[in-house]
């Protein structure tokens, strides 16, 4: 895991008893962390057993694989599964693509002051919560007389009638992607800037001598240097595609469920918006999600080890 470990001499070990004694203070240091993790991460893992139970109010009884049979036959679940993949992956690809473009062209900016200014501005929305961003854009996109977007478009004569953007099945996803672009793309460039600052300037000078144009230098020097980072970013995020919850939850509504319901919101609705929820069933949905997520995570880890020689976990 660490460089120190690999370079440490092999024959350094003192006897175990001595080391235990020497490090006794550290075990005490780790104790709070150990207990905290035990309670908030490991204890809930025991609850996974409810996947095999029917759990309504106080009535808990074993039903074997019943929940999974029900789950796989549920159309609503498969729709949410499909939406999760589509929404997460499109969002990931779109945000990464635009972030790379911004990073490359901002890197070409001659004035350092202007570059710093743009960076400061585009990082800003990342520090606003999803709840806030959703609130802002819901107000802007509203059909009321103070709706920024609709009224502006009307006054410019582009549209005649107000459009209910967030309640339209065809427009919800594009709007969702745009709002997410606004919020996260700027922050997504941070990691690419880190890579760009590591490119040897001699490469560009060599390009100048060979008479390369700006665009040629971008194509043959900058882009190849970024390619590894791009792959890493994609892999890291691919492992988490099923986890999407808050970004969707703050923007979706009952009228666009068909195109917006993801696994986590499905679990939420089935548990907290149902009169008598079956905790067993929703735990089973969660377990299915965790297992697929687990496979994705391990797959990404292997891919990452292949590509950059170090895992993600």
């Amino acid at each position: 895991m660490s460089k120190k470990e690999t370079t440490a001499p092999v024959v350094h070990k003192k006897p175990l008893g001595l080391r235990l004694h020497e490090y006794r203070g550290f075990y005490l240091m780790f104790l709070p962390v150990f207990i905290f993790v035990l309670i908030i991460y490991y204890w809930p893992m025991l609850g996974v057993r409810y996947s095999f139970y029917s759990y309504k109010l106080r009535d808990i009884h074993f039903i074997g694989l019943g929940n999974f049979v029900k789950l796989f036959g549920e159309k609503e679940f498969w729709s949410s599964f499909k939406n999760t993949l589509v929404i997460s992956i499109v969002k990931l690809l779109l945000n990464t693509f635009v972030a790379v473009l911004i990073a490359i062209f901002l890197n070409e900016m001659r004035s350092l002051l202007a570059k710093k200014f743009v960076q400061t501005v585009i990082y800003l929305p990342h520090f606003m919560s999803y709840a806030v961003v959703a609130a802002i854009f819901t107000l802007f996109l509203s059909t009321s007389s103070t709706g920024f977007v609709n009224e502006t478009l009307k006054s410019m004569g582009i549209i005649k009638e107000s459009i209910d953007f967030l309640h339209s099945k065809t427009l919800w996803r594009p709007i969702f992607y745009l709002i997410n672009l606004w919020k996260e793309t700027g922050w997504g460039t941070v990691i690419f800037f880190a890579t760009l600052s590591g490119i040897n300037t001699e490469l560009y000078e060599a390009g100048d001598i060979d008479g390369a144009t700006r665009l040629q230098k971008i194509r043959y020097i900058t882009l190849p240097a970024l390619s590894n980072t791009i792959i890493v970013v994609l892999i890291l995020n691919l492992a988490k595609v099923l986890n999407i919850f808050e970004p969707v939850f703050v923007l979706y509504n009952s009228r666009v469920l068909e195109v917006s319901d993801v696994i986590s919101t499905y679990i939420y609705r089935k548990t907290f918006l149902t009169a008598i929820p079956d905790y067993g069933y929703t735990t089973a949905v969660g377990l299915f999600k965790s297992l697929v997520g687990c496979i994705l995570m391990i797959g990404s880890d292997i891919a990452s080890k292949k590509i950059r020689g170090r895992g993600i976990i």
Binding site: G25, P32, I39, Y41, P44, V48, F127, M128, A135, F137
Partner: protein, 280 residues
């Protein structure tokens, strides 16, 4: 640098594109701020409020339904950040001790939680048993322990030159003494960035409150804001204030702490990400 300094067409287009991009980010934020001071709701983008008022902010301060969640947010963020930092520092430092028996077991113990989780419902049932449903301290419990941030701290600690540890050891410092008088003072920047990450997460958390809390005295500001704007649950107030003004003023309050701190602390925000992602 040997690059030519001539302004080309490419440069001009580049400047224009980034000017537009910056405006796309700034205009919505600017409009929110201006409209929070505007007595009447207008759809137009204004550079300055046409009918200035402070009623929106006064309403928030004097309406318990809004002021209380704001205080809850402040308290949970401060406490959660402190606990989070303590956990990340303790755990991170222990994981640095390569000779410590059992160290790798501890690290697998932590890393496993990043691969597999019980899921939303088992977590909810556990928190219910712990009495954390309808209790704002759920925010501290949920975010106080963050394995990712712990690993970040560990990476920072490993960046401290080994010679410093050795010098302290030669001076007869115990491992604990090294921690408190060598490692911690050198990690101020790291503590700042990791602390900021905790603070942003806790302050901005909305979904935890949505899942766990229904009692209006326990909710945080993000939740209250959302309920007010999306569900139209506007609190009745003694103030004459237009709905729009109140909405936008609330949004400003929700983003204010980090918007104010951000320009000064930007480098700490950014180092946190880079240390975690591109440690090669």
């Amino acid at each position: 640098m040997g690059r030519k300094r001539k302004i080309t067409l490419f440069d001009i287009i580049n400047y224009i594109v980034f000017a537009i991009l910056s405006l796309i980010i700034i205009i919505p934020i600017w409009k929110v701020v201006v409209d929070s001071f505007n007595a009447v709701g207008v759809y137009k983008f204004q550079l300055w409020p046409s009918d200035p008022t402070l009623a929106g902010y006064q309403t928030i301060i004097h309406t318990a339904k809004l002021a209380r969640p704001f205080i809850n947010s402040v308290v949970t963020t401060i406490v959660g950040t402190l606990i989070g930092l303590i956990m990340a520092t303790l755990g991170g430092y222990v994981l640095c001790q390569n000779d410590m028996p059992g160290r790798s077991i501890f690290s697998y113990y932590l890393l496993f939680t990043m691969i597999f989780s019980g899921g939303m419902i088992p977590e909810y049932l556990v928190m219910k048993q712990l009495g954390l449903v309808d209790n704002m301290w759920i925010l501290v419990v949920k975010h106080g322990m963050n394995v990712y941030n712990l690993v970040l701290m560990k990476n920072f600690f490993e960046g401290i030159p080994i010679s410093l540890y050795e010098a302290a050891e030669l001076d007869g410092c115990s491992p604990m003494k090294i921690f408190t008088s060598v490692v911690l003072p050198l990690s101020k920047a790291a503590l700042a960035s990791v602390g900021l990450m905790f603070a942003v997460t806790i302050w901005n958390d909305y979904s935890t409150v949505q899942i766990y809390i229904t009692n209006p005295t326990q909710v945080n500001f993000q939740y209250q804001l959302r309920v007010m704007i999306m569900d139209g649950d506007t609190p009745t107030t003694a103030y004459k204030v237009s709905q729009n003004t109140l909405y936008y003023a609330s949004i400003v309050c929700a983003i204010l702490p980090f918007m104010v701190a951000y320009p000064f602390l930007q480098k700490y925000f950014v180092t946190g990400v880079n240390a975690g992602a591109v440690k090669e």
